[in-house]
Amino acid sequence: MTSTPPARPRRSLSLAQREALWAYVFLAIPIAFYAFIRFWPALQSFYLSLYTWHVDPARRRFVGLGYYRELLENPVFHQALKNTLQYAVITVPASMALGLGIALMLQAVGRGRGAYRAIYFAPYITPAVAVAWVWGWMYNYNYGIINTLLIEWYVFLERFGLERLAIEPQRFLTDPNLALVSVSVVVVWQQLGFQVVIFLAGLQGIPRIYYEAARIDGATPWDLFWHVTLPLLNPVIVFSVVITTINALQLFDQIVNINFTDQGGPLNRTLSIALYMYQEAFGRARLGYAAAVTVVLFAIILIVTLIQLRLTQRRVEY
């Protein structure tokens, strides 16, 4: 123990390297935390999906890919998958188009922009439960304000003999053909504020000088929108598409609360994959099967996101 080790040449770190090292150390803390409470349990669901569920791990039975085979054949899962894709196809373009439109108008408004923005943003920060309940009442056939207005509209038109223009009162949430669209409307309404804020930020980041230069070259407002605004908004659009799509694919709160007696109904027409997973896991205590559903949902979100990034990121130009 008395022999001294041969002196190693000491490598001294530059200031920049040391700063980077510290940055890595600090970044590692939340990563370690996330890895432990987020990523590790997520990985465990792969493992869980191969076994029947039992609280005692020793009594879980290995079923291999059995639950995945069941998924392939299960009509309720197919319905949930179809619905989930429909939610995405309806809510993503609708909320983005409306959000961009409103952001453009707010951009043009000088006075009171902050107030408008706050009003549009309010639904986004309202709890989904409260939103779903209020809309549940508004949609109701017998008590709902929407059907009341439709009836008033009919009465109004009747005076002029124009009943043909009237719309019948609708069973928005119990008509199997309307329910999914009705829920989608609520989702769009709620996400609008988020889109507006994101697009406003994006619009404000576009230097005015481009517009001025284009106008000098004789560009019409339409040209400005297509050739200046939209391309320069691309990074914001990519971000918004990806985030909104992921939200749509994970839709849960609104569906659960808007039709509380028959969640996902009528006849599973509003059932999303996330809700289906929840029902199997905690309504039927089939956590193994539910884990398989989660894995499939994860795969879908991953694939959709990768495709979107591929398709949209190419056109980023500055």
Partner: protein, 422 residues
Amino acid sequence: MKHLVRALLMTAAVVIATAQAQVTITYWQYDFGARIDAMEQLIERFNAENPDVIVVQENAGPYASYQERVAAALAAGEGPEVVQLFYGWAGAWQRAGYVEPLPAEHFDEAWIQSYFIPMVESVKIDGAYYGLPTAVRALALFYNKDQFREVGLDPDAPPATWDAFVEAAKALTIKRGPRFERVGFGIAPNGQDHHVVRTVLTNQLGTPPYSADGTEVLYGNELGAEALAFYTSLQTEHEVGVNEFVPGANGYREGFINLESISMIIDGSFAIGNVRTNAQFDWGVAELPTFDNGVQANFGSFWMNGLTANAYASPEKLEAASRFVKFVTNEESMQLWLDVVGELPAARTLVADPELTADPVFGAFIAGLAYAEATQFVDEGAQRSVMVDAINRVLLEGADPLASILQAAAEDQALLDAANAQ
């Protein structure tokens, strides 16, 4: 200093020794005011009588997330020793290991069969009981006597047959344009009505819904279709009610009690407390109507006290937990539960109590209990969806009742087969 340390150590040793002599049992049920309150009173009594056991009740959250919490806690090795569960969950919970059988050494089968009403047999899986109830419930018809008077019906002669029921409901219904101002009957497929179709109407028409051993679905036939057709005709043909008339989790009850826009509902005895406290009108309760053949049927159900794997941690715990389950199911406890929660007792002796049978409210339920049947569910959540969908196919898509009930029977049979294969 030395003395102080020694004194502290000794005190600690004494405390630990006392704590070890006492067994702590944790009890879980979902958060519902009167039930929590009643259980607190029972626990207080039990702890006073059993100094070697400490029972603690923990708040396990609202009904909507109850199963979630039980699953998470037990999987983490935490949670209760004694747990309250709906009898229909027993199958799914047993397969997931949330509930373990009551130990035969502490619960004698002959005693269970002689002490409890027969309905309790429905939670026997492979010869073992998975829980025992403090209280049971049956269905009955709640009706608004004031509205009966208003339309010229005799408030003291509630409909005894389904024909009379339809006539009364028609008289009570008020329609303005395409919308209802008041409905005669609060249709609620996802409330109690799926039980009405599956268990009440089928039995009344002469087809038991399941085979005696619970392995076979028997309602997939003309009689099952007739049951479904009658129920759905209330909305489609007679127009005395409409699904989702009042939105919300218990819209039908809300409409009956608070909005007074529903004149009659079929509900369980668990609704008595709510109706009593909140209804601002004269109301009555009647036995469920029958068809012309006069055959009576009812659906009974119950929440029960079961043991988790935690209770099996040591023989002492198991003995203490079993003692507690026996305590909360003894006659005094049932009486207290009846007084505080308003749910019917589960012991044969108490059900026969003349005072209860003569009670104007409890009487109808007690009468129903006598011929009530608790469906042997293997997976209550999934089986409920099967019947709710069967009803909705007819109500919302105009499906043929026979085709719809046949589909339901096939789906239900698949669930039974899957559960029995395990």
